[in-house]
């Protein structure tokens, strides 16, 4: 019974469960998954295609919920994440765990029953990779956390392709490589301007552990293989000129921004504008490239 002296534990709102799924991160996941599906050489029934994308979204949301369940302490220490449902005290941790496991299981089972076993298997691997390899194992232990953990975010185009064809080919593997190699410069650009947040939370992000200079060098270094993976589908004959020219122009701009960040020296109170610009453009870059891939398939 609730008394005046007992703090009232309100049940979490549905909006808090939605927030657990990191809807903004999910946008890019859903988009790259959809592009993988649309770029595949086989047309898929619209209902089955919709179900595949729904399962990718649910799987990503579940992985996000399990990440927030495990990292509630880190989130509480960082300004950027302190308002999330668990650190803000709007939800009990077991509720987040049950929600995450339930939605993850549902997404994999639905993918297996309605779409195909290959897509379900890759979806399961991507969820387990994000939760166990990245969140539990790597994130608190090594500054290379997002390099290896970046693979988790690279799975959606592979899942989309597998949903349409039932197998995996060279093009989706190159898309996987593109997102995998894009993740370090994308996250390290962010880590450069929220360094204090990560340091306060004890997360060994590269700028915290190795310093700003090394991080800038690494952004420059990872941009090179990323550029190669982005452009490669064109000379290999896997895509046409629409994707090819878009990839060349978009990647050249990315490389120019990354080079500026890589060679910059900053002092106290620097506004970090080039780093913020690179971070924002890196998101747009993936949207443009994957959009061009679909346009290339459908209109070339």
């Amino acid at each position: 019974m609730i008394t005046v002296d007992t703090p009232v534990r309100l049940p979490a709102e549905w909006r808090d469960f939605l927030a657990l799924t990191k809807p903004r991160v999910m946008t890019l996941v859903v988009f790259t998954g959809l592009c993988g599906l649309l770029a595949a050489p086989r047309r898929v029934d619209p209902v089955i295609g919709f179900t595949a994308i729904l399962c990718i979204a649910l799987g990503a949301g579940a992985a996000g919920a399990l990440n927030q369940w495990y990292e509630a302490d880190i989130d509480a220490a960082m300004k950027r994440t302190a308002a999330r449902p668990l650190p803000a005290g709007r939800m009990e941790r077991p509720a987040a765990l049950q929600f995450g496991i339930g939605v993850a299981a549902f997404s994999v089972i639905l993918m297996g029953l309605a779409v195909n076993a290959m897509a379900a298997a890759i979806l399961l691997v991507s969820i387990l990779f994000y939760v166990l390899i990245y969140t539990v194992w790597l994130k608190r232990r090594t500054p290379q956390n997002i390099v290896i953990g970046g693979a988790a975010g690279a799975f959606p185009p592979l899942i989309g392709w597998a949903a349409a064809t039932g197998d995996v080919a060279l093009l989706p593997l190159l898309l996987f490589a593109l997102v995998f190699l894009w993740t370090p410069p994308h996250f390290w650009a962010l880590a450069l301007f929220v360094k204090t947040d990560y340091a306060n939370a004890g997360v060994p992000m590269l700028p915290v552990v190795a310093g700003e200079r090394v991080t800038r060098q690494q952004i420059g270094l990872y941009t090179l293989p990323m550029a190669a993976a982005a452009v490669a589908p064109w000379p290999l004959g896997l895509t046409g000129a629409i994707y090819g020219w878009t990839a060349v122009a978009g990647t050249a701009l990315f490389a120019a921004m990354a080079a500026q960040v890589a060679t910059r020296r900053t002092g106290d109170g620097d506004a970090m504008k080039p780093e913020k610009r690179l971070f924002s453009y890196s998101i747009l870059y993936l949207f443009i490239l994957f959009g061009a891939l679909v346009a290339d398939r459908w209109y070339a």
Partner: protein
């Protein structure tokens, strides 16, 4: 009139439960429709051309 904290808290909890129940009902309804459409699509895919 004296405010009753006990009553206010109960009301708030019930409002949250109602809101969650509504969203759950909507999701379940959407899933019923989706499963029906998936069944039709799978039957269509299994039919000879």
């Amino acid at each position: 009139m004296t405010p009753d904290p006990q009553h206010d808290a109960d009301e708030l909890i019930r409002a949250r439960q109602r809101s969650r129940a509504r969203v759950t009902a909507l999701i379940l309804g959407a899933l019923v429709v989706l499963f029906f459409l998936i069944t039709l699509a799978r039957i269509r895919a299994g039919m000879p051309k």
